[in-house]
């Protein structure tokens, strides 16, 4: 048999899944939707769907992200393609995205019941989706160490305390304030805006912005 043998039509169901992360109330969270049909009816699952004809994987992932959150201009990247999430051997191309919770507008459709769940307190997920989430969390934590991806979880301007909260939520541990600030400044990925946060019982804090609001590896 040659590599291009085409003796029979062998096709597979191909789905696109999106692990959509946010950080809210000090927790790393993902968006889950409730399945309305079997299999796994009433179980929670990652947003996704079958790849439609003429769709590329990236188009399908972008559209799913927009349907669920209303945004597209955020960090979105292919994660991994799985072939072992169900018994049928469906192909599931997983993507992951990072969304500022203040920008995400969850759709107001009761049928899906979209909801943010803390990754350290997930319900039982359909179709081994838990494996996908675990893989995505690992990728996010790794990528935080060598890139500016946190930009996509924050507003255009933020205080260093807000930035530290995002890092702590992702890594699941508290960090020393002085060391965090020294480290993050040395990376040269953020810059002071010259403006200050006005609200709150604390004294005004310098506002910072990411130098680039697109993925940069350092």
């Amino acid at each position: 048999m040659t590599p291009d043998a085409s003796s029979s039509s062998i096709e597979r169901l191909v789905a696109v899944l999106v692990v959509i992360f946010t950080v809210e109330a000090g927790k790393l969270r993902i968006l889950l939707i409730r399945r309305s049909a079997d299999p796994f009816k009433d179980h929670w699952s990652l947003p996704g769907g079958r790849l439609l004809p003429a769709d590329s994987l990236a188009e399908a992932a972008t559209r799913r992200l927009e349907v669920e959150t209303g945004v597209t201009d955020v960090f979105l990247e292919q994660l991994y393609t799985f072939s072992d999430l169900d018994e049928a051997g469906s192909i599931a191309a997983a993507y992951w995205a990072l969304v500022d919770p203040n920008r995400a507008k969850l759709p107001d459709r009761l049928e899906w019941q979209p909801r943010w769940y803390a990754v350290d307190d997930l319900p039982d997920l359909a179709f081994l989706n838990g494996n996908v989430v675990q893989y995505a969390v690992t990728r996010l934590r790794n990528k935080l160490a060598y890139s500016n991806v946190a930009y996509s979880l924050l507003a255009a301007e933020f205080t260093l305390s807000q930035l530290q909260q995002v890092y702590e939520a992702i890594l699941g541990r508290s960090m020393d304030k002085r060391n965090f600030r020294k480290r993050i400044i040395s990376l040269d990925i953020i810059e002071p805006t010259g403006r200050f946060s006005g609200q709150g019982r604390h004294r005004p804090a310098q506002l910072y912005a990411f130098k680039e609001r697109r993925p940069v590896v350092f």
Copy 2:
């Protein structure tokens, strides 16, 4: 429409491709095979084939690697899944592997004409395979900077000169001998074996081995 709508059977052709790298005669090379049928008859392409029923992606990639090189206990990792390599929108899950040229045994079948090509001097490739190769070369170069993947391109024991040749071939540039040795020793991923290379016109050189012959990130 709900995410689990299953109104019609929408399936796609799924292929698995493998970018198999080696370093030989100072060059980074990949294995190409010659297509024996249309489309792209007589063009060179990456080894691969359709995903068979009941196969997982990893199984298909491992089998393809074994068919082409005779080895399986080498570095093999998923690279990226493409949906834009042909007009039909086929899904191509690409893997990449690193093989010591002294271990690889290319199959003796004229039909496929498997052959190592230097990545800086590739022929025209079928199906936008060039995009896959470019992506794989970038991943390999990045991964060299933060992991021990070079282990999979070398024999169990090697001299520091041989190791440097592998790094230079991958990165496509020559490196200062003293700096290279200082850097590679500081990474703590190799160790002296106590044995020395016997052959050649040079004086015997210390032989080294990777501490781990499996992927380790540092």
